[in-house]
């Protein structure tokens, strides 16, 4: 087999990226994203291993347990493509490929969960929610556009970075600074949440109590209620239990003639 047939181009990587969008299509408790990983990398394996038996054994190898944050899975996919290419050329071994997958999936899972689910998404969502609460019907569209520019941009970028570096996690951390961005996004989310409370008198007309109390008092009352709820949640209240508790409080207030 000539070396030329083992070249991986941008189109190959974009194909892996597109298939990687479906990495969780058959997510299961037992193997999690295993089939998704094999499905995403399959076109590259077909190209690198024209002998059926070898292709089959590589594909089955990638059906083993795999789980990470779905966006950062792109980095591992890029890196594994590179290592499979090197393996096909005789530079790397099976152990290198398996070692890379198993060493990266847990840390990148934790990193991705903390960055994407724990800070980036909340910041964009709370900004959109604040806009909706103050009457902007277009806020959901803004949420989708902002989130996907960030998410898809990063997802494509880390795939190519994974391929270029062969899975250098130190380079990934240094280049994208996920942890410091996460801190920044979390703190900014808190400021927007405070802003949402400060704007209570400006909330949608359905939520306004016109003339019931001065605006600033209403906002302060909202802040006090939030602080009480935070304390209740800290003592082990779940969202569902607190929702039911609030409904009960509202019924008591209504039947008590307070509202």
């Amino acid at each position: 087999m000539s070396k030329d047939n083992k070249e991986i181009g941008t189109i190959d990587l974009l194909r892996v990226f597109a298939r990687g969008l479906l990495i969780q299509a058959s997510w299961s408790f037992e193997r999690m994203q295993s089939l998704g990983f094999a499905y995403a990398i399959e076109p590259v394996l077909r190209k690198l291993y024209p002998v059926q038996a070898e292709y089959e054994s590589r594909l089955k190898l990638h059906m083993g347990y795999f789980n990470t944050q779905p966006y950062l899975a792109s980095f591992i996919l890029g890196a594994v493509v590179r290592l499979e290419q090197d393996r096909a050329l005789g530079i790397k071994t099976d152990a290198d490929v398996q070692g890379l997958k198993s060493s990266l999936m847990a840390p990148l899972g934790a990193l991705g969960d903390s960055f994407f689910w724990g800070s980036f998404k909340p910041l964009v969502a709370v900004t959109a929610a604040a806009l909706v609460m103050t009457g902007s019907w277009w806020a959901p569209l803004l949420f989708l556009v902002l989130y996907n520019i960030g998410h898809l941009g990063l997802r494509v970028s880390v795939l190519f970075r994974g391929y270029e570096t062969g899975g250098d996690a130190v380079d990934l951390m240094a280049r994208y600074r996920f942890t410091s961005w996460a801190r920044l996004f979390k703190v900014t989310s808190l400021a927007v949440l405070g802003g949402l409370l400060g704007m209570m008198p400006l909330w949608r007309t359905e939520f306004r109590n016109e003339g019931a109390m001065p605006g600033i008092i209403e906002a302060l009352a909202g802040m006090m209620i939030v602080l009480v709820l935070v304390e209740i949640l800290r003592r082990g209240g779940s969202p569902v239990k607190v929702m039911l508790g609030l409904a009960a409080v509202c019924l008591v207030l209504a039947y008590g003639g307070v509202i």
Binding site: L22, A25, S26, W27, S28, F29, E30, R31, L35, E42, E56, L59, N67, W117, K121, A125, A128, A129, T134, G135, W137, P140, F143, Y147, S180, R183, V187, S189, L190, A191, G194, G195, L196, L197, G198, M199, L202, W203, R204, E206, F207, G215, A219, G222, I225, V226, V230, L233, R234, V240, V242, M243, L244, L246, A247, C250, L251, A254, Y255, I259
Partner: protein, 251 residues
């Protein structure tokens, strides 16, 4: 009505794919799915209120490891659909409150259903492993993509149960005393505050966070004293948090 419910099951099933199986483009987030369904069914306001409220409540309930969080997409789409179909022409705040209260009953069922689906998917993997020869590529593709059908059916079946049941519950609600309606109107107003509390609880180790306070003061001053437009106030609070955090990092 039956056609509408079937339509909701199909559209909701497709939206639900975004949650786990396809891409995670966030179309399935309540703040998008709620208004989208509200727009389709002619009650965008209900969709916006339900979507924004459930977004704040469930945003930090995230899938980590094997933990399957409550399906806030099903809650948002069901609540909006029940409100829109149960009150053509625009649901009042009390009805929106009732629909949001109904979502508490859906939470456990959605988690159970998600768990069952993921157990079922384990069989898919086992089915492919034994295959050998030329068939393997086709079997892998077919098996993996069959997961999409499973996820779609899960959501669709739940909509076919939740939406008619919710509409029936809403009919009973219409006959309830005025006090119950007033209570539900107040309940809706409390829910965004609960959402804020849940986020503060997860994002900060302090009960009173300095950045939250600075956002509060900025919004109160700019919004109420200087009457700045709400979107400008939101941008200002973003800027306060952003630059405050950067200043703290550098300091």
């Amino acid at each position: 009505m039956i056609l509408s419910i079937v339509g909701i099951a199909i559209i909701g099933g497709l939206i639900g794919l975004d949650r786990t199986a396809v891409g995670q483009f966030m179309i399935s987030q309540p703040i998008v799915a709620g208004p989208m369904m509200g727009w389709v069914l002619g009650d965008m306001t209900a969709g916006l209120i339900i979507g924004a409220t459930l977004e704040l409540i469930w945003i930090l309930d995230v899938p980590v490891g094997t933990f399957v969080p409550a399906d806030s997409t099903i809650s948002a789409v069901s609540a909006t659909s029940i409100a829109a179909l149960g009150n053509p022409g625009g649901a009042p705040l009390s009805v929106i409150g009732m629909c949001l209260l109904l979502t508490t009953a859906m939470t456990l069922a959605t988690m159970k259903a998600d768990g069952l689906i993921r157990q079922w998917n384990s069989r898919i993997v086992e089915g492919v492993e034994g295959v050998q020869g030329q068939q393997i590529r086709m079997r892998l593709t077919r098996a993996h993509l069959s997961g999409l059908v499973v996820f779609f059916l899960k959501s669709s079946v739940l909509y076919l149960i939740f939406v008619p049941t919710g509409i029936a519950a809403l009919k009973i609600f219409h006959y309830m005393p005025e006090n119950v309606h007033r209570a539900m109107s107040l309940f809706v107003k409390f829910l965004p505050l609960l959402g804020v509390a849940l986020m503060v609880r997860r994002l900060s180790i302090k009960i009173i966070d300095l950045f939250m306070l600075s956002g509060f003061v900025t919004a109160a001053v700019m919004g109420q004293m200087f009457h700045a437009p709400a979107s400008v106030v939101v941008l200002l609070t973003l800027a306060v948090g952003w630059f405050g955090a950067r200043y703290r990092e550098q300091g």
